[in-house]
């Protein structure tokens, strides 16, 4: 979809978000100053390694953070400020405003209840409709995501992983939310099924103008369903830009390393072991000085270990990196 297709305005606006977890008496930031804007109908990919804060960011949008978390900054969804909102307001927001597709669809269902009934319950819980209305809505949703409505009477164990993920997506769509957040929606799935789910997400967006945030460490899935990608490292966005542009010519050394980790079949340059990234991401309580990525960065130079780079605009791209800034200055 082109940039102009989405209507003007802002659906979600995150400003200077910080999420701190209390660990052994000290407060460690899992999300450390994130700004993000999402327009209605837009699809954004949030990429990064485990522990970079991408899932915490999603949970913060839904007001689902655990008790030991402190949230600072602002998350505005439509007219609602999510941070500090009352429980009742948050309940209304979840599902009807923002819904979520979780990783590992196997664990999200009650094994002793029929799949269709579980979807009906979700609808009844959030919308003021009769049981029979909810039933016909469920059947509509099943058809929408490519499941024969007759299978509604089956139990979760009778569904394959891909089918269960489809039910999860049907549930997320139950109340017609303007925003769906999908956390690793295809990670545990086979290639063929993964392709089916990605096709489904792309098709749903075309049909209903839903905004989508896809959280994943697998950059190869993002090109299929998103327009924009934000790459996170150690709780911050380090690079952001249009998906094809960013994945084909990544500029931040971290994004380059992530892209390089995916070999491309048929590309002679991909024969041989994919370039990895030595070391582990830093613990939130021990953020390195300067640029948090500098201890692992193959291109680190003089200012990197002392001066923390800020996220700056370079043409169509945002990057927080001294190297990119230097390249731009030339």
């Amino acid at each position: 979809m082109s940039e102009t297709a989405a209507p003007a305005g802002t659906l979600l606006e995150i400003r200077n978000l910080r999420v701190l977890y209390e660990v052994r008496g000290a407060k460690a930031p899992a999300v450390d100053g994130v700004d993000l804007t999402l327009r209605p109908g837009e699809a954004l990919g949030l990429a990064g390694e485990s522990g970079c804060g991408k899932s915490t960011l999603a949970l913060a949008c839904l007001g689902l953070l655990p008790r030991n978390a402190t949230v600072e900054g602002s998350i505005r969804f439509q007219e609602t400020e999510v941070i500090g909102a009352k429980p009742g307001r948050l309940r209304a927001l979840r599902w009807a405003g923002i819904s979520m597709v979780f990783q590992g669809a196997m664990n999200a269902f009650n094994p002793v209840k029929r799949v269709g009934d579980q979807v009906i319950e979700a609808i009844l819980l959030h919308e003021d409709v009769s049981r029979s209305e909810a039933r016909s809505r469920m059947q509509e949703l099943f058809e929408h995501v490519g499941i024969a409505p007759r299978r509604a009477g089956e139990y979760p164990h009778e569904f394959s992983g891909g089918m269960r993920q489809r039910v999860m997506i049907a549930m997320a769509l139950a109340c017609d939310p303007p925003l769906v957040i999908a956390d690793e929606p295809t990670t545990a799935l086979d290639v063929m099924i993964q392709a089916q789910i990605l096709n489904l997400l792309a098709q749903l967006r075309e049909e209903s103008n839903i905004a989508l945030i896809v959280i994943t460490h697998d950059l190869s899935v993002l090109a299929q369903v998103t327009e924009r990608v934000a790459v996170m490292y150690a709780g911050r966005i380090v690079e952001e830009g249009a998906v094809s542009d960013l994945l084909i010519t990544p500029r931040h050394p971290y994004t380059r390393a992530l892209v390089g980790a995916f070999p491309i079949v048929g590309d002679p340059a991909s024969r041989g072991v994919p370039a990895g990234l030595p070391g582990d991401p830093p613990h939130p309580e021990a953020r390195p000085s300067g640029c948090a990525f500098h201890p692992r960065c193959p291109a680190a130079f003089e200012p990197c270990d002392s001066i923390d780079p800020v996220l700056e605009r370079h043409g169509q791209r945002l990057a927080a990196c001294h190297l990119v800034a230097r390249e731009e200055a030339r």
Binding site: E49, S50, S160, G162, D190, V191, M192, I193, Q194, A195, Q196, L198, N199, A202, H217, D218, L219, S220, V221, A223, Q224, V243, S244, L247, I248, A257, L258, V259, G260, A261, F262, P263, I264, V265, G266, S270, R271, G272, V273, P274, A275, G276, L277, P278, D280
Partner: protein, 343 residues
């Protein structure tokens, strides 16, 4: 043979291997048999990286377990430098088990959460009674697996390690026994993208250092492309295509291989996937003829032409159509013959 020399790596020979599982339904008495591996033959050269690829349920993991001697084949032969696990007992079987090691997908599932890293690696060393100083063997294996200095990890527990480090411990425990074959079943699919490269690099490096033959089982053709010398594509218990990775993955002959390649995502490239329609493969209900025929796009489009009756009724055999490149498909085999006949 001495460890570390090229002669240490073993050759594999699999002939007409069949693995069946009996099953019974929970209610009613209609039991049956699943042919998980159904007449598979291939050879792997010593020191080669051989990749077995396919969707879930294609039998790739069962094949791997048969190579380890963990499931007893219904028929056929396995020979790993002349030894068939199904025919071994006692001390011989123990030697075999030492020589053929495995790395599974989930390192957390492979490690005992209450066992320290040292114990995890030393356990196998003790069971197999390896000569030499145990501490030295464990330290060397950990260092080789990239956990340096090894002493720092001796008393760590799995929960204290990152996903990549855990997989390194599993690999250390395997190579401590100086195996001649390493079977890696989706060794990186649970790991973060940035760590995958390192673990794969480690496996390939150790293959040469220790002198091992590497059998890589995966559903990800991108990794097969990166690492494998040769690739076997499996569908419902049979190998449908087999050949050098360069050939199979860039000039695929079988329609199934083509479909798998079409859905393999590429970073930075958007495309609507041509996803196979029809029921996903079910080893309980194996279709007659070519078992791929209900989903075959070539058959569906009518391109199969005069071969169609054979697709529906005759099981295609794996034939060498191009030197070193074999395919089990009536249409691909026939078109090849036609092109070679052309003046």
């Amino acid at each position: 043979m001495k460890e570390g020399t090229p002669g240490h790596a073993a050759e594999l020979e699999v002939r007409d291997l069949e693995v069946r599982f009996a099953f019974r339904r929970l209610f009613g008495d209609s039991g049956g048999e699943v042919r998980a591996v159904d007449g598979v033959s291939f050879d792997v050269e010593p020191g080669e990286v051989f990749c077995i690829a396919g969707e879930s349920g294609c039998g790739k993991t069962t094949l791997g377990r048969a190579l380890l001697g963990l499931v007893r084949p219904h028929s056929g032969n396995i020979s790993i430098s002349g030894l068939d696990p199904a025919r071994l007992k006692g001390e011989e079987l123990r030697t075999f088990r030492r020589q053929v090691q495995v790395v599974f997908q989930d390192p957390m599932g492979s490690l005992n959460p209450r066992q320290s890293v040292y114990e995890a690696v030393a356990e196998g060393v003790r069971i197999h009674g390896l000569p030499g100083d145990e501490k030295e063997i464990v330290a060397r294996a950990l260092a080789r697996a990239g956990l340096r200095p090894p002493e720092r990890f001796f008393l760590s527990y799995p929960h204290e390690l990152s996903g990549g480090q855990r997989q390194r411990v599993v690999i250390a425990a395997a190579i401590a026994l100086e195996p001649r074959v390493l079977i890696a079943d989706e060794p990186v699919s649970m790991l973060d993208a940035s760590v995958r490269g390192e673990i794969l690099d480690l496996l390939v490096r150790l293959k040469d250092e220790v002198g091992m033959t590497l059998v890589l089982i995966t559903h990800d053709l991108a990794f097969a492309w990166a690492l494998a010398d040769r690739v076997a594509i499996m569908y419902l218990g049979k190998i449908v295509e087999l050949g050098p990775a360069q050939k199979v993955l860039t000039e695929p002959l079988h329609p199934y291989t083509k479909s798998l390649l079409a859905v393999t995502p590429e970073v930075g490239r958007r495309r609507t996937h041509k996803v196979l329609t029809g029921e996903p493969p079910d080893p309980v209900l194996i279709p007659p003829g070519c078992r791929f025929h209900p989903r075959c796009p070539v058959l569906r489009s009518g391109e199969a032409g005069s071969q169609e009756p054979r697709c529906l009724g005759e099981v295609p055999v794996l034939e060498e159509t191009v030197p070193g490149h074999r395919v089990a498909c009536h249409v691909a085999g026939e078109s090849r013959i036609l092109t070679t006949r052309r003046p």
